[in-house]
């Protein structure tokens, strides 16, 4: 009981100290409110609505545009899955940059949620000899194959297990998301992810206001802050309102497929049924919902 008390007083003192620090640095009540904001999953509907309203105002002040920040929850009976046809991919990286634009990834320092690996055809799928910084005049190059990797949306994700503060979790529709306001930036999830899918804001992220995507989801592409982790969300702001992820839409060769794994009529189920698929690093038992296959 005594310990409890001392912890409370400790916290009181800490919040007091922080409060005065914030007050001294000229920050207003808004900053304090944001600082004391709780984990997204513990908030009530009203609290969430308030936060979203404030964010829209705040973003308008920063970027001079009207924003729509959604907190659209997962649809019932939906589990998203993804399939990528490796025999079609030409390594053009159009998906990479479509993703950057759609999801407001920082341009400087540069963050890419999708990494495309260039591989030697005669080595098969061999990560150790792959190259992410390939830069020929024209793709595809002779003798090379291309292997795009982003979040594999594991059914058994290691990244959410290791998070010390429950700032990242798997949504009912299978998307692993991050609460950017709750992430402390310890990067344990990055150490745990076998796919390099998690990216850290090492510096203050910069997105030019004429390029910013104003259609946002709270758990997805809203602007991030310095010192937090971000990752692919299957374009949560799009797929929860029935659109395809932007990488699927942009792909010039139709290598990318997406759909509801629980719907027997979906394209993704057709692929699982009629093509032989594999998952990356199957031996780690992460059970991705991101499948690779050779369509032709």
């Amino acid at each position: 009981m005594k310990k409890e008390n001392s912890r409370r007083t400790f916290f009181k003192n800490i919040s007091l100290a922080t409060f005065s620090a914030l007050a001294l640095s000229g920050c207003d009540m808004k900053a304090l409110k944001e600082f004391l904001q709780q984990n997204f999953r513990t908030l009530s509907k009203k609290e969430k609505d308030d936060i979203v309203k404030n964010l829209q105002v705040q973003y308008k002040e920063t970027y001079g545009k009207e924003f729509h920040v959604s907190i659209e929850p997962a649809m019932e009976g939906v589990l998203f899955g993804y399939a990528l046809d490796l025999s079609r991919c030409i390594g053009c990286r159009k998906c990479v940059y479509a993703c950057v634009g759609e999801n407001n990834q920082s341009r400087d320092p540069q963050i890419h949620w999708i990494q495309v690996l260039e591989m030697e055809k005669d080595k098969g799928i061999d990560l150790a000899h792959s190259n992410v910084h390939y830069n020929p005049d024209k793709v595809p190059e002779k003798g090379k194959s291309y292997f795009p990797v982003a979040c594999q949306q594991c059914r058994n994700p290691q990244c959410t297990t290791v998070c010390p503060v429950k700032a990242t979790w798997q949504e009912p529709d299978g998307i692993v998301v991050v609460d950017y306001n709750w992430c402390i930036g310890c990067r344990y999830c990055m150490a745990a992810c076998p796919y390099g899918a998690r990216h850290f804001n090492w510096g203050e992220p910069k997105v030019p206001s004429d390029e910013i995507n104003t259609e946002m989801h709270y758990l997805g592409n809203r602007p991030r802050m310095k010192g937090v982790v971000e990752k692919c969300t299957f374009c949560i702001q799009r797929v929860r309102v029935g659109k395809y992820p932007s990488c699927v839409e942009i792909c010039p060769v139709g290598a990318r497929k997406f759909g509801n794994l629980l719907d027997p009529e979906s394209e993704i189920r057709y692929i699982l049924e009629n093509k032989r698929v594999f998952v990356l690093k199957q031996e780690l038992n992460t059970q991705p919902k991101f499948y690779y296959f050779f369509g032709i």
Partner: protein, 415 residues
């Protein structure tokens, strides 16, 4: 009232000393300033001032954290041999060991604080107030064991010093169980820290059951090295009495630890190199470099060579019992384990990264300066605590002396 006098008395003790003592303090303060300005740059611009990037997302800071957890653990484990072999000054060994443990834990926690992207959000991790991911996240376990360990040691050492200061006998039914508890706690802090890395299937370099045993063995090399030198200094400058035999015994125990560490490492290397799977890449990067990327090789080999020389110096009885070679060995093994934990443990875990890419990491100036700040703050704290402890334990700094001084002062004023 007594407490205030204790505090003012202690401040006086801290402020008084020889020229060498002041030089040491000034040296530390300069380092703190130099390091502090470096850290300030990181605070304002973010961790981009470090050389960590997405590929190598943990590095020097977390390595320092790991090293210091080892020091904290080993400081207490020395109580076991002190008890078994019946070295006379066991109470003193407990006191100075715990002071070292307290400082090392504080420093290790500081390294976590400078490593995280949003230090102000640390409260998200606290139970009840935040949403701690207990028991799933090993980091939450580390939070508990480190804090409990810190509190136990802080309490015991404060209590012991308090009793000596007030010339009271201490309650051994209170102290003994806590000291006994702190021994398994010491093992657990380093084990949990090893488990932090250990069970990540994404990182084959760490994914070996030998990791925690190797951690403990290496901690038994580096932690006692500090106390070995501290005991000699105390013996020279105070009434602290510790026999040569006891110091040699510490060195002998360190040799066993080094041998066990060597054996574990060779077992690990044999398995990796003979089976020759793709997991060999990380060891190759550490020991020989991959292609032109050899930047880390100098760290790994300097650690190996320093460790090996220390092992030989401690193994041969003649050099073990010569205080010059003994101290050289102690410094070398400390440095060896520091480089091993600071760089050689963490970096190969991330290089090549999970997608096979090589990002060459070496610490940036900001990282070195921040580490220098934490180490000098830690040393400063340790110096102050040891100074007060020496005064209380050996130099008759106690309540009676203070009372006498007060009485004298009053009588002088009266006359």
């Amino acid at each position: 009232m007594n407490f205030i006098r204790f505090i003012t008395g202690s401040i006086k003790i801290i402020l008084q000393g020889s020229k060498a003592y002041y030089a040491w303090l000034i040296f530390l303060l300069l380092l703190i300033l130099w390091g502090g300005f470096g850290y300030f740059g990181q605070l304002s611009e973010g961790l981009i001032k470090t050389h960590m990037r997405d590929s190598v997302s943990w590095a020097f800071y977390i390595g320092n954290f790991t090293f210091l957890v080892g020091v904290a653990a080993a400081a207490i484990l020395l109580v076991i041999p002190a008890y078994i072999y019946d070295w006379k000054p066991i109470k003193e060994i407990v006191i100075f060991g715990e002071l070292l443990a307290v400082c090392a834990v504080i420093m290790s926690i500081s390294f976590i604080v400078v490593d995280i992207g949003n230090p102000l959000r640390v409260w998200h991790m606290l139970p009840l107030i935040g949403t701690m991911n207990f028991p799933m996240s090993m980091l939450s376990w580390d939070f508990f064991v480190l804090n409990i360990y810190l509190l136990i040691n802080l309490f015991v050492v404060t209590y012991l010093l308090y009793c000596i200061f007030f010339k009271k006998g201490y309650n051994s039914s209170l102290v003994l169980p806590l000291v006994l508890l702190s021994i398994p706690m010491a093992v657990s802090i380093h084990t949990v820290t090893a488990f932090l890395y250990n069970a990540l299937p994404a990182r084959p370099f760490w994914n070996s059951a030998l990791l925690a045993p190797r951690f403990l063995a290496s901690a038994f090399c580096s932690g006692p090295a500090i106390l070995l030198i501290l005991f000699q200094i105390l013996r020279k400058t105070t009434q602290f009495e510790i026999k040569d035999e006891a110091i040699w015994k510490i060195a002998e125990l360190m040799v066993y630890a080094m041998f066990i560490y060597l054996f574990f490492t060779i077992a690990e290397l044999f398995k990796e190199f003979y089976s020759g799977t793709e997991h060999l890449l990380y060891w190759k990067y550490l020991l020989f470099g991959i292609g032109d990327n050899k930047e880390i090789v100098v760290y790994s080999w300097s650690s190996i060579i320093m460790g090996f020389i220390a092992f030989v110096l401690f193994l041969i009885p003649k050099t073990r019992k010569n205080f010059l070679t003994l101290n050289i060995g102690a410094v070398l093994i400390y440095a060896s384990v520091y480089v091993e934990k600071g760089i050689a443990l963490i970096i190969p875990g991330f290089t090549p990264d999970v997608l096979g890419q090589i990002y060459v990491y070496t610490p940036s100036m900001t990282e070195i300066r921040t580490a220098a700040m934490i180490f000098s703050l830690g040393f400063l704290l340790f110096t102050f605590l040891v100074k007060v402890a020496i005064a209380i334990v050996f130099e008759d700094y106690n309540i009676e002396v203070l009372n006498k001084k007060k009485a004298k002062l009053i009588s002088e004023i009266k006359s």
